[in-house]
């Protein structure tokens, strides 16, 4: 046991939390082991005792999550399960976690660490307190993700924390919703809770409730979710106390540290067993276009930023992510931060390699990073906007995950190979106006979280439901969403031909069609989601292709009432893509939106029709012309694959039998098509050296769009290692930069 100092800090053994944090860091620095644990005496002497404790604590966080789900009023919690609960050490290191939006697990711990560094202890941290935070300048992914964090005391000493995260759908920003278009700094992003005390004695403070009451357009939802989170935290805290009573505080503290160190070592071992050492280039570009938003002219710009992430797998099992060469941060909502990247790393490891149920801080400790300050991945001001702070996590991070898949594949773990799915240019359905009950209304529909087509596997097709930030997806029920929204679903269908093509295709994404209902006024905001309109980071694997990006369509002044009275066709899905049902069947004023980050110009009202394709960029795996015709036939039969695409992408000829309503593959014609395609490819192919020379010529002569030249110049200027590598690869002069027009 550590030496007890009487009447000093509130931490274990009478230490201050700051002392504990400093000691932990020092021991890590000195030994490379968590809390300096070079010997794991508790697990070695009594392995089952440790497992017994772990089982109890895991059960507690799972129970906490269920409690919140039951209490919450918000469909994204009850229906889509956008929440998670985790347990932490006094220093803010994660011990274990529930399912849910696990990207936040590490980040909540960083809030604790920040509180310690800020000296909260001196201001007072007491049993029964709760601290609430959604401030990304401290830690987090974006303002809608609200963290409620409760300390756990044992005999007057703080022995840990429990945190619950819930995604909110309205956060009181400059425009309604939770990821406001046009927000360019923190002051336009709404309610900021900077790790502030929200409850004492397990009861919310009136002052906090008033803050919420006047800080959001949907305060009841926000408050009810806080109550759900608090209830979960209290339950977990009490369970932890019971465990401490049974195992003893000395054992608990020692065991929790060993659990982290055990997991760190396990993670290194997993990497050594399942991957091959080496280096993967994993560059990502992030597109930001604020030229059509409400942003002030100084911020209303369009730009593309390069994040040239290099991923090293070291022979000792450590990962190293190097962001050297990343471009500049800007006054837009898509910057990212070191903490957001750490959250993404933890999230991706948990669902790809550390899915045993034991993932904790130790998993992340096996990863080192170089994140350059004063860049897109680490803005040099706390005032940056953060609505889409998970830009790299959900684009570059997913690409990194795919690179990790390569490493599994190389080692023979073929079944573990999965290509990624990034959230696309979004087109989330954020809405504002009046609802069907006559109330003022602001909402962001997150049904998309359960209907992004997932990336293909190396041995099978992707599924039609996948989200990188939350593995246990659910689109929710229309009959529940319609309680909240002034819209009636006319359809929720998969969009044919929207997959990423390949020998194994990605999953199809969904297209929802809505009849605007009982509202005189509804505005649509596609949210601060504007990353991959033109350049896809997730480009396909082993010859596969990326899938189709998102879009939405709105018909205002629609003649639906007339059509309905005459029993004429409406629109329920895409129909014929050349002239969609929406355009063919419904008269009115059509607006097509193919990018995020904007308000749709037209205002909708009762009877109008809105259609939203929740396309995410998921990639296929393998050469599409090697696809098993039986798989293509199944897609044809299910109406997901059109015959034209079947021919052009897969070189498969099939005929439809009206009688059986089934497709039959013409094997002879298929073989011919495939042979012809192979010959065409060979005829078009050029040696790699020749291709390289042509591309080099383009670069040397500056034959690039201006946006890209600016992008490269930022990276060439800011980078330390990357510029040299770039110039050497393309054989460019040592001081080469692009001349901007």
């Amino acid at each position: 046991m550590e030496q007890k100092v009487v009447n000093k800090g509130i931490g274990w053994g009478g230490n201050t939390l700051k002392e504990m944090l400093d000691k932990k860091k020092q021991l890590w620095s000195d030994t490379g082991c968590y809390y300096g644990l070079q010997e794991l005496s508790l697990s070695a002497s009594a392995p089952f005792k440790l497992e017994l404790l772990h089982a109890r604590l895991l059960a507690a966080v799972i129970a906490g999550r269920e409690t919140t789900r039951m209490i919450s009023a918000a469909p994204q919690v009850r229906e889509v399960a956008e929440l998670a609960v985790a347990l932490y050490t006094p220093e803010g290191d994660c011990l274990l976690q529930s399912t849910g939006i696990i990207i936040h697990i590490t980040l909540m711990g960083q809030v604790v660490e920040w509180m310690i560094e800020q000296g909260y202890e001196e201001e007072g941290i007491n049993d029964g307190d709760c601290f609430t935070s959604n401030d990304n300048a401290i830690s987090g992914l974006h303002p809608p993700d609200v963290y409620d964090i409760t300390p756990i005391f044992w005999e007057g000493e703080l022995i840990g924390w429990v945190g619950t995260v819930i995604m909110e759908l309205e956060i009181g920003a400059v425009v309604p919703g939770c990821m406001p278009s046009g927000a360019t700094d923190r002051f336009s992003e709404g309610l900021r809770l900077s790790a502030e005390k929200s409850a004492e004695n397990d009861k919310h403070l009136k002052s906090f409730e008033r803050r919420i009451r006047f800080g959001s357009r949907t305060p009841d939802l926000l408050l009810l979710n806080r109550k759900g989170a608090l209830a979960a935290n209290v339950k977990v805290r009490e369970e932890v106390k019971k465990a401490v009573a049974e195992f003893g505080i000395d054992y608990y503290m020692g065991a929790t540290r060993e659990l982290v160190e055990l997991e760190r070592r396990a993670q290194l071992e997993r990497v050594k067993r399942r991957t091959v050492p080496g280096k993967f280039h994993s560059p990502t570009t992030i597109e930001v276009d604020l030229t059509r938003t409400i942003a002030p002219p100084t911020h209303a710009i369009g730009r593309v930023t390069l994040i040239p992430c290099d991923f090293h797998i070291k022979p000792d099992g450590r990962y190293f992510l190097d962001f050297d060469g990343t471009g500049a941060w800007g006054w837009h909502a898509a910057n990212t931060t070191p903490s957001a990247i750490q959250g993404a790393v933890s999230m991706i490891l948990t669902q790809t390699i550390a899915y045993t149920g034991n993932a904790n801080q130790g998993t992340s400790l096996a990863v080192d990073m170089n994140v350059p300050y004063d860049s897109f991945v680490w803005p040099s001001t706390p005032n940056f906007a953060s609505g889409w702070l998970f830009s790299w996590p959900l684009s570059g991070g997913v690409k990194w995950m795919t690179q990790q898949s390569h490493a599994f594949f190389c080692r023979g773990f073929v079944e573990e190979f999965r290509s990624g799915v990034t959230t696309s240019s979004g087109v989330f359905g954020a809405m504002t106006g009046k609802d069907h009950l006559g109330n003022d209304f602001n909402f962001l529909s997150t049904e998309a979280a359960g209907c992004w087509g997932g990336g293909a596997f190396a041995t099978r097709d992707g599924v039609t439901a996948s989200a990188a930030f939350m593995p246990n997806v659910d689109m929710g029920s229309v009959e529940i969403w319609e309680l909240m929204l002034p819209t009636l679903w006319l359809g929720r269908k998969l969009l044919p031909d929207s997959c990423g093509w390949g020998r194994y295709r990605s999953g199809y994404s969904a297209l929802s069609t809505f009849l605007i209902y009982k509202t005189p006024l509804l505005a649509f905001d596609t949210s601060a989601t504007f990353l991959e309109d033109k350049i896809y980071p997730n480009i396909g694997m082993f010859g596969g292709y990326p899938s189709q990006g998102a879009f939405s369509k709105l018909i205002t002044n629609a003649n639906t009432k007339e059509l309905i009275s005459q029993e004429k066709p409406l629109a329920h899905g895409m129909g014929n893509p050349d002239q969609s049902d929406l355009e063919k069947n419904i008269d009115g004023d059509l607006t097509v939106v193919t990018r995020g980050g904007i308000f749709v110009d037209s205002l909708a009202k009762d009877g109008d029709v809105y259609q939203c394709f929740y396309g995410a960029i998921a990639s296929g795996v393998g050469d599409p012309i090697k696809r098993d015709p039986a798989l293509a036939r199944k897609d044809l039969d299910n109406g997901l694959l059109g015959i034209e695409r079947c021919r052009s992408m897969h070189c498969i000829e099939a005929k439809y039998d009206q009688e059986t309503e089934e497709w039959a593959v013409d094997e002879g014609a298929t073989a011919e098509l495939r042979e012809k395609r192979s010959k065409e490819r060979l005829a078009k192919g050029i040696p790699a050296k020749e291709w390289w020379e042509k591309r080099r010529q383009h670069l040397a002569e500056g034959r690039l769009p201006r946006l890209l030249k600016v992008m490269y110049n930022e990276s060439l200027t800011k980078g330390q290692r990357w510029p040299g590598e770039f110039r050497r690869f393309w054989n460019l002069p040592e001081t080469f930069t692009f001349k901007e027009d």
Binding site: P47, F48, E51, A73, G357, G450, A510, E567, E661
Partner: protein, 717 residues
Amino acid sequence: MGDQRDIVLIGSDAGGTMTDMLVVDKAGEFIVGKASTTPRDQSIGFANSMIDAAEYWGMDWQKEAKNYLPGIAGIIYSGTSMLNTLLTRTGKKIGIILTKGFEDSLIHERGIGVHASYGYQDKIHPVSHIHNEPFVPKKLIRGVTERISMFGEAVVPLYQGEVREAVADLLDRGVEGIAVLFLWSYLNPQHEMMAAAIAREIMKERSQEVPLYLSCEIVPITRENSRLNALVLQAYGAEPAREQLFGIERMLHQDGYKHPLQVALADGGIANIRYPALFKACFSGPVGGILGAKYLSQEMDMPNLLCTDMGGTSFDLGLIMGGECSILREIELARTVLNIPTLVMDSIGAGCGMYLSIDPESKRVDIGPDSAGADPGPVCYMMGNETPTVMDCVLILGILNPDYYLGGKVEVDWDAAYKAIKEKCADPLGIDPYDFAEGVLDLINVRMREHIGTVLSVRGYSPADYYVIGYGGAGPTFLAGYTAGLPFKGVFTVPWAAAFSAFGCAAADYLHRYQKSTLVALPPGSDDGMKQFMAMTVSASWAELEEIAAREMEEEGFKREEISFKQVAYVRYSQQLEDVEVISPLPRLVTAQDMDKLIEAFEETYSRKYVHAAMFPEVGYQIFEIGLLATVSRPKPLLRKYPLEGKTPPGEAEKGTRQVYFGGEWRKANLYEMDLLRSGNEVEGLAVIEAPSTTMFVPLGKKVIVDEYKRCWLKEV
């Protein structure tokens, strides 16, 4: 000719592996039979299990069934009757008519279908996620234009021409049934009823008839995708399952049984096998145990009873509160989300058949999540499995008698179990195989104990208010372990624990549940006038349901005065998506004060279920659904009382001693035969009480007291 017995009831539970039979005579004596389940023709497994049971009373059932069946008052079946139909995909060819635009629902599965009913590890590991193959191909799904809103308003009227076209088209395709589901039909069934009328008209014109399945009649519950899955289950799988049940009934009738065969429903009801919504019976087996516990709870004055069922693959919990069970209306089962009203059961993967391994990377012990099941079974079965299981640990520790497994009918190999545990697990960890085996039991016990704690705490209940019954094949073996340290009122098992689900079926009332959607809102500050209006709205709905219930049950042969009703409301704070089932304190709400009493009951339940801080009366209340329980009492097994005898078990019950590894050392354990213990006997640990189909372990520091009902209570020494 065996014993002269006056058999009055038979309960059966056809599980995935074994069919259990519980036979009850007028004096309240039970016998338990077991035989392999025969999925293709379940009447064979049913008959074999009955033959096995009858042997214990010295009867040759094949010859003597005719002497007994005419006098039996009830035979109830529960089990996984539809599972074989689903696994072999041999259900009916069904067509579906849906709200247009929702034709992809079975392919997309709301997203959740790719991981529904997975455990923790598979849920967070997307490589495990995969879609279910739909039971109805897309070509047999037709969308028709219509839309009803959350207010029940027909915003888009039913395009009747499209219905005609769809019905004719599906009939042309040779469908054997048509299922119809429109959004919000449970609130306003008008469009589904119209579609049914059109379908009947067309069938009449074509002189062709197939059954129609309307979601508003069969599954009037919110969440369209779960409703569709349940409806498909009914349309696709119910009739083949019903055929199986008719096969059993025919067999019984041939030998003189006079009544209809009855079936247990997942919601705790019992129904004639001709009951239309037979899908509710598709996974009723586990519910049987809760029904049995409910009966004991009511008969033995244990209003709060926790049911714990440990089998080969899972550990299931059910809660009886105040003699009643709660209902869940959407469940994850067999990798699907379904609207099957089901007695609340919380399950985790913790069973005796679970595999054990050492994670090569973390060097930590893994239990499960997969189970060896009955085939290949644990290593000791010698059927080809080389990976040790929990049961192998129980065996090598000396708890399980290798010569008396399933009454000696199944041979088990101790050496093979020991070798596998040593080589695969203990040696890599560097510990003694017996320490490993005992550690596994500790760990699985703690997982189960935590599961119990979670189930109680999430609902705000305390163990101190509950009795616990342990059953299932492995329940009595682990009962002391998984209840240790929790301050329950009492912990017990019964000699018929291994067939407790079958017992539950025999002990259940004839019960039907009814529900109806309603739109009752009490905004903050509602005055008495508003409350009274809403009270009357609720009461009118209850009256309507009571009328339907009485009519249906009269048609089933019951008299109106035999039926008793319980009124239920599903209440939530405004804007919440999850409601709370509240048994109404009054049979009718007439005044504003009556409505207040219902709200008080809701808040009392709510604050107990969650925490006080979660209450939110400021936003008002909503009731979107009300329900009714209609019950008719049935003959039940008599719970016989035996005179209390001395503490010392009779000599015939003693089976000698065996070395058992406990607390890190080998110790002598006394052995007893459970059936021969007498009321009043006490058995102090370390002891093993053996029965043909289960083994009760009594650790050091514990004792078992057999009471007048032959309940075996675990007590501190």
